[in-house]
């Protein structure tokens, strides 16, 4: 578990827009954290607190305003497809390609030799239990199956790091429970470093080795909680006293932040309205 550091985040802040712009948002403030190989870190926090922003900075999709990110010992300056794979919240499969073609295309982009792709695509689809649906188009799959396909695509890239932004966020409770269990089994067999954004307390405790709780905007990591339980975690873990205690601890940490975030956004809404009226008269 406590292997070498795979992701090193140091004093990262991110602002959207220019300093003097009315739409200027300080999304992320002085955040530092390390993720070890083989570790699954969950990010949890009020919506809009910068979890996706942090994930995108780590993935090289956003350049941090200040601070540094290192992945596999190298500074991140842009997408690093050889080291980092993504599973997004929205359906990010190409609708005009079959499931199989989607997986193949990821490897084509990444630069996997042609001869290897076929085999790797089959294996990763097998691993997520989607082998029979290889020739289906995304529109023909359920939401849960689509996210399995997206996971297969990410796994086929065989990266050391996997970033998942609320991958099961749009799914119903039962589906996400099953997917969570399957994911835990899958991940117990790899030594990937995984950062997993979720808004579900249960999901965080069930999947994570550590849970980073965010404060309200400008977001930063307020506290990190360890979940000392080996993978794969079996469904009984959910009903254990340990699970409940951790879940309650997360709940009380989050509760205050969510209240803060809500009252702040209400105030911002008012300010924003005045701003636009002034803009109209100018």
């Amino acid at each position: 578990m406590t292997g070498e550091v795979a992701i090193r985040v140091r004093d990262v802040s991110h602002h959207f827009g220019e300093e003097d712009d009315a739409r200027h948002v300080r999304a992320l403030l002085d955040t530092s954290i390390d993720v070890a190989r083989g570790e699954l870190l969950c990010l949890i926090g009020p919506s809009g607190c910068g979890k996706s922003t942090l994930l995108n900075v780590v993935g090289g999709l956003l350049e941090p305003t200040t601070g540094t990110v290192e992945v596999a010992g190298k500074p991140v300056r842009g997408p690093m497809p050889a080291d980092i794979a993504y599973v997004f919240q929205e359906n990010a499969l190409f609708p005009w390609n079959t499931v199989f073609e989607n997986v193949m295309l990821g490897m084509l982009f990444q630069g996997v030799p042609k001869a290897e792709r076929d085999d790797r695509a089959r294996r990763s689809l097998e691993a997520v239990g989607l082998a029979e649906f290889s020739d289906h188009y995304p529109a023909q799959l359920s939401g849960g199956m689509r996210q399995r396909a997206a996971l297969a695509r990410a796994l086929s890239l065989e990266t050391g790091i996997l970033l998942m932004d609320e991958p099961f966020g749009a799914l119903d409770e039962q589906t996400r429970m099953i997917l969570g269990e399957d994911l835990s089994v899958l991940l117990s067999r790899t030594d990937k470093a995984i950062v997993f954004v979720t808004h579900s307390l249960g999901e965080a405790v069930f999947l994570a080795d550590r849970v980073a709780v965010f404060s309200a905007r400008p977001g930063t990591i307020k506290q990190v909680i360890s979940v000392d339980e080996p993978h794969p975690r079996n469904p009984e873990f959910v009903t254990s006293a340990k699970f409940t205690a951790l879940r309650n601890q997360l709940y009380s940490l989050l509760h205050d932040e969510i209240r803060k975030a809500m009252s702040e956004s209400a105030m911002r809404g008012g300010a924003g309205h005045r701003g636009s009226v002034a803009g109209d008269s100018a």
């Binding site: 993935g59 090289g60 999709l61 997408p79 497809p81 050889a82 980092i84 794979a85 993504y86 997004f88 929205e90 990010a92 190409f94 609708p95 005009w96 390609n97 295309l105 990821g106 084509l108 982009f109 990444q110 630069g111 188009y137 529109a139 023909q140 695509r153 890239l157």
Partner: protein, 258 residues
């Protein structure tokens, strides 16, 4: 009496049969009208148009004229697609260029080009060049407009995801932008085809020394409706075939949207 429901069911399952029926009825009405009610100087029945079709092709210059017109259509269409695609992508892919240049495109699209047809003749002469240019001026705008609309509604997450997996610019175009815009590209091509037909034929009819415009004028002035209608039918057949080709290709590429 008992057989009606069966026929109805059959028709519902085969809309093509009803369509064919309507076409046949129209031809029968035309035949009857032309035979007994309309001055034969102005209108021929379809049967005699059909019979005299081979003989129309014998008239010296007609096959050449058809070839020239078909060639004009093909070149104008190819140019419209190439230029329309390039301009559409250049304008559509960047919000800045879209906001700057799209109003110009829409303004030109909305202007009836017929008003400046004489200018085309002036600049490009009375040969095929002016017909092609005028055809392009009609074909290019629907293609640009549909391509701009097509690339605009691409979900950004798809490009982001491709980039995160290491896609370079060419791959992002080839595997994300291009397949996404194929449906609108084909819609644009069909509209563009209609525009090209309109533009080329208008220019042909306006002034022509060798194309079919020359012969339509000739047949009209000599009161030869057999030949005139034969020529028009041939043109219509060309248009139908070209449209059908585009439609076939479209169905082939759009099979993922079930």
């Amino acid at each position: 009496m008992r057989r009606w429901p069966a026929i109805k069911r059959y028709m519902l399952r085969h809309p093509g049969v009803a369509r064919l029926g309507v076409v046949i009825v129209l031809f029968v009405i035309w035949e009857i009208a032309a035979r007994w009610f309309i001055d034969p100087l102005f209108m021929s029945p379809p049967s005699s148009v059909l019979v005299s079709l081979p003989q129309m092709f014998e008239i010296s210059g007609v096959p050449g004229a058809l070839r020239i017109t078909f060639w004009e259509l093909a070149v104008a269409f190819a140019m419209s697609v190439a230029i329309g695609l390039a301009v559409g992508l250049a304008v559509g892919l960047q919000p800045f260029s879209r906001r700057s240049f799209m109003p110009i495109v829409l303004l030109l699209y909305g202007t009836p080009q017929v008003t400046i047809l004489p200018l085309f003749i002036l600049f490009f002469g009375i040969g095929p060049a002016s017909k092609i240019a005028f055809g392009v001026s009609h074909g290019i705008f629907p293609i640009i407009v549909t391509i701009v609309a097509g690339v605009q509604n691409l979900k950004p997450i798809l490009l982001t995801s491709a980039k995160s997996m290491g896609a370079n610019r060419w791959q992002a175009f080839r595997y994300v932008i291009f397949p996404h815009m194929i449906p609108s590209f084909f819609t644009g091509m069909r509209l563009g085809m209609t525009g090209v037909l309109l533009g080329v034929l208008l220019a042909e009819l306006y002034v022509s020394t060798a194309g079919i415009g020359y012969f339509t004028t000739l047949f009209t002035q000599n009161f030869e409706p057999d030949n005139l209608l034969g020529l028009i039918a041939t043109l219509a057949a060309m248009a139908i075939i070209l449209n059908e080709l585009v439609r076939r290709a479209e169905n082939h590429f759009a099979r993922w949207r079930d």
